[in-house]
């Protein structure tokens, strides 16, 4: 086997191992996590699509009739179909036929978990191909060990899937710049189509790629001028601009075709329905979100939201490495200019012809750019710009690599003094492992400890969960924390009793019961009046719900509190009469 083939085989195996390992980790922790509000709606949609798939297998002619298509695919048609289709197929085949999961809910969640694994693998591959294995491994770990990514990666939602698809699309575009032939642009087009059929964040992908295409032209144009001497030169001469054009063209042509092919809802009235879909997201209503003690529910939204939340939720060491990575690559690009300003003749600099640094930077910036506008909603918290995180992680990988190189240089300089330093200087992996432990320790511990309170977890930069609560940063949303109180409910709710489920969606509550995580006789109800127990998920704008419990039960004393690091996230109130009755019936 050639050296290149061997390298590809190793990288493929490492990517597979990282991706499969991450998915396995998610599968092993998924049972602890309650179902988010939106998941409940996607379960319903996926069930509808699943019935259509079964009809398609049994009677294709009937299934393809407009009435059948529209009937099945109208469910949740404000979002495209790919991921919900995967939820449906996973539930239909992996669970109902092959019984692979302990819980039905996990079967719906599995495709998103697998795509999370794909995202980790892609980050590794891209980092490795562009900048070496140390970068690849460090970037993959930096991405995987972001507590918010870990939380979202469990859910039967589209937020981590679009991260995977967006990265796949950008990676395919990048590959198309480095590889000749028709297959690579075609792959970029298909990947973009899959992203389009995943979530509307995909609309930013061609913008990033087109901006990169223009940047390549600008680079080439400047290189032809006197100022060109200030910029690095491509390391090899590749027709990247022509290839970028064809990749973009394929994305423009193939992408929409893939969307059309995989989204039956738009088959029979594509223009009107795509317009309706776009309008829904371009004019999305505002929901509530607490930020620095203020509840935002209508524009203008705070311009600092994305930045502060990134600082507060991405591990600090990852951000430091990102900054080091950015500075390292910035020095390569701006080194000529700096040398000129310092009046010295520095070495000629070369970078890869595909302009990888520019693409990563543009992808990062464009995924954040929408939150520069005060009109952009913020209700989903960090998941809105999570598509930027693979690129943040890739730069963090570059930063880590720079640190490893610096450490090895010093070890080499001092190699005569200690045997250990000689070994460190001699092996990239020895230095990387040693430094890696220190760089990964905090993100790993923060991620592990965040579960199953992912949306309550904050980094030490804001004082962790307690500091964030004091600062007035959102503690939870989506009602998923119900999963953390089911053992208490199972014990406390009288037989056939009722629970006010607050922000838990009905289908999410049902899934907890279908999973066997909650007694089937416990009734979820929509009003606290007459209920035996009441749940309250803490969100600033929902505090009125807690007060409804006080008056209905005549007590301000929660029977149970769930939360992270002493910070209450979910409360359960109990009608004192119910408790007294239960106590009196105990032998």
């Amino acid at each position: 086997m050639s050296a290149i083939g061997k390298r590809k085989l190793i990288d493929g195996a490492v990517a597979l191992g990282l991706g499969a390992g991450y998915t396995t980790w998610l599968l092993r922790t998924v049972q602890d996590l309650g179902y988010a509000r939106d998941e409940g709606f996607y379960f319903q949609a996926a069930a509808s699509y699943g019935r259509w798939f079964e009809q398609l297998l049994a009677d294709p002619r009937a299934a393809l009739a407009r009435r059948a298509v529209d009937g099945a695919w109208s469910a949740n048609h404000e979002h495209p179909a790919l991921i919900k289709s995967l939820f449906a197929l996973s539930s239909t085949f992996l669970q109902k036929r092959w019984h692979l999961f302990a819980m039905e809910g996990s079967s719906y969640r599995f495709p998103a978990m697998a795509l999370a694994g794909l995202a980790v693998a892609l980050v590794y591959l891209w980092g490795t191909e562009a900048r070496g294995r140390v970068v690849g491994v460090a970037a993959a770990l930096a991405f995987a060990l972001m507590p918010r990514v870990f939380f979202q990666a469990h859910l039967a939602c589209f937020d981590v899937p679009i991260v995977a698809m967006w990265t796949l699309g950008a990676y395919a575009y990048w590959r198309a710049l480095r590889t000749g032939g028709a297959l690579a642009p075609l792959a970029a087009g298909v990947a973009f189509g899959l992203a389009l059929d995943t979530k509307h964040n995909s609309w930013f992908l061609p913008i990033a790629c087109a901006a990169h295409f223009l940047a390549l032209h600008l680079w080439a144009a400047v290189a032809r001028t006197r100022a060109g001497a200030l910029l690095p030169r491509p390391s090899v001469d590749l027709p990247v601009r022509r290839r970028a054009f064809w990749a973009l063209a394929a994305m423009g042509l193939v992408g929409p075709a893939v969307l059309y092919a995989l989204w039956p809802w738009i088959w029979h009235d594509p223009v009107a329905r795509v317009r309706e879909y776009a309008q829904f997201h371009l004019n999305h209503e505002y929901y509530n979100m607490e930020f620095l003690g203020k509840n935002y529910w209508v524009a203008p939204m705070p311009r600092g939201y994305a930045w502060v939340m990134t600082l507060g939720t991405v591990p600090g060491i990852t951000l430091v490495l990102f900054a080091v990575g950015l500075a390292t690559r910035g020095r390569v690009w701006l080194g000529g200019l700096i040398d000129r300003l310092r009046g010295i003749a520095g070495p000629a600099r070369r970078v890869d012809a595909a302009g990888t640094d520019l693409l990563w930077l543009l992808a990062l910036v464009i995924n954040y750019a929408a939150w520069l506008s005060p009109r952009t909603p913020i209700f989903g918290g960090t998941k809105h710009w999570m598509t930027a995180y693979p690129f943040l992680a890739l730069y963090a990988g570059v930063g880590f690599d720079a640190v490893v190189r610096a450490a090895r240089r010093e070890a080499f300089r001092l190699r005569a003094r200690r045997v250990a330093l000689r070994r460190l200087a001699g092996s990239a992996w020895a230095a990387a492992s040693l430094l890696g432990v220190t760089a990964v320790a905090a993100p790993l511990v923060e991620t592990v400890r965040s579960h199953p309170w992912g949306l309550s977890a904050y980094t030490p930069l804001v004082g962790g969960a307690p500091g964030a609560a004091s600062l007035g940063l959102n503690r939870t949303f989506w009602g998923y924390a119900t999963g953390a109180v089911t053992p208490f409910l199972d014990t406390e709710v009288p037989r056939g009793g009722s629970v006010y489920i607050h922000d838990t969606a009905g289908p999410s509550w049902d899934m907890l019961q279908r999973d066997g995580r909650l007694r089937k006789d416990v009734r979820g109800v929509w009003s606290i009046a007459g209920a035996d127990l009441g749940i309250y998920h803490h969100e600033k704008h929902m505090l009125g719900q807690e007060y409804q419990n006080w008056l209905a039960f005549g007590t301000l004393r929660p029977a149970y509190i769930g939360g992270l690091d002493g910070v209450p996230v979910i409360l359960v109130y109990e009608d004192p009469r119910v408790r007294a009755r239960a106590q009196s019936q105990k032998p």
Partner: protein, 305 residues
């Protein structure tokens, strides 16, 4: 650059510092069950009339779970403000203090494990002669509508009603029920104000026409009638509703009116009683009206001091 040769060490140091900081921040607050250790110390330190306040406010549920309704009753937790309290007992963690008690003077402090208990004195407490919210019962009050003239009957065992997600606050079992639907009642409830803080008040949704009048008999008066009015913030923040007028009458004479406009939030008022001041027994009426009664979830509290 020679002096930056060792800069790479900042990364492992920062990584380990972050780990240490994470564990330190995570371990600082008491666990939820740790709050039970406070029950006896708080009981021992708290004097009658003391307001118990938790700092930071986010720890309030953990404190309520441990201390219970006796030490933290709804009257105090959902207070209109702190002016009426001569003393307060602040339970603090993480070195935080309650902004509500700014200006109070410390008179005693006692550390209890991770908690700090401080008794604080209000430099200028108000003397409340009569709290109207405390006296909403048929022995002291009645309720009626004026157009058409209808009585609202006291029902001590009404069906409790709560609006659920985004809905109206809970209507308690004991309330005056008026004709026209469940919204037309006067009872003690708790609304969320513009900061979503709890405010205990008298629900008083106006009718389509006329006034909904809550009358208190034999009220000993102070110099002023002071209070607050507002609506569940989710309702008034839209700023689409008609203004609501609260008119206060003493022995049939108006002592003032307050107009609540959407967006005012939990707004205070103070009406001097003039010649009625310090009367031993007066009849006080609170009349609520509006030009358009749609979604007018008005709720007020008042005392005389």
């Amino acid at each position: 650059v020679k002096r930056l040769r060792w800069a790479f060490l900042a990364v492992p140091l920062l990584g380990l510092a972050e780990l240490g900081a994470h564990l330190w921040f995570a371990g600082r607050p008491p666990a939820f069950d740790d709050w039970f250790a406070l029950t006896e110390p708080v009981r021992a330190l708290k004097q009658p009339g003391d307001l118990v306040v938790i700092a930071p406010a986010w720890a309030d549920p953990a404190a309520r779970r441990a201390l219970g309704d006796e030490l933290m009753p709804v009257r105090d937790v959902a207070r209109p403000d702190v002016t009426r309290y001569a003393t307060a007992l602040e339970v603090s963690i993480l070195g935080e203090h309650a902004p509500d008690l700014d200006g109070f003077r410390e008179i005693e402090r006692r550390p209890v494990g991770r908690f700090l208990l401080r008794r604080l004195a209000n430099p200028a407490p108000a003397h409340v002669v009569y709290d109207f919210v405390d006296h909403l019962d048929p022995g002291a009050a009645d309720v009626r509508g004026t157009d058409p003239a209808v009585p609202c009957l006291w029902n001590p065992r009404a069906t409790i009603a709560a609006g659920g997600l985004g809905g109206h606050p809970t209507f308690p079992a004991a309330r005056f029920e008026c004709p026209g639907g469940i919204y037309f009642n006067v009872g003690v409830t708790v609304i969320a104000d513009e900061e979503f803080r709890p405010r205990r008040c008298l629900w008083s949704h106006p009718f389509a026409r006329g006034e909904i009048v809550t009358r208190f008999r034999d009220v000993p008066l102070g110099r002023v009638i002071r209070g607050h009015g507002g609506m569940y913030w989710m309702v008034e923040r839209e700023r689409k509703g008609a203004p609501v007028t609260l008119t206060v009458r003493v022995d049939g004479e108006s002592v003032g009116s307050v107009v609540h406009r959407d967006g005012d939030g939990w707004a205070g008022f103070e009406l001097p009683l003039g010649a009625h001041a310090r009367a031993r027994a007066a009849t006080v009426e609170f009349a609520v009206s509006t030009s358009n009664f749609r979604d007018r979830h008005f709720c007020f509290e008042a005392d005389t001091r």
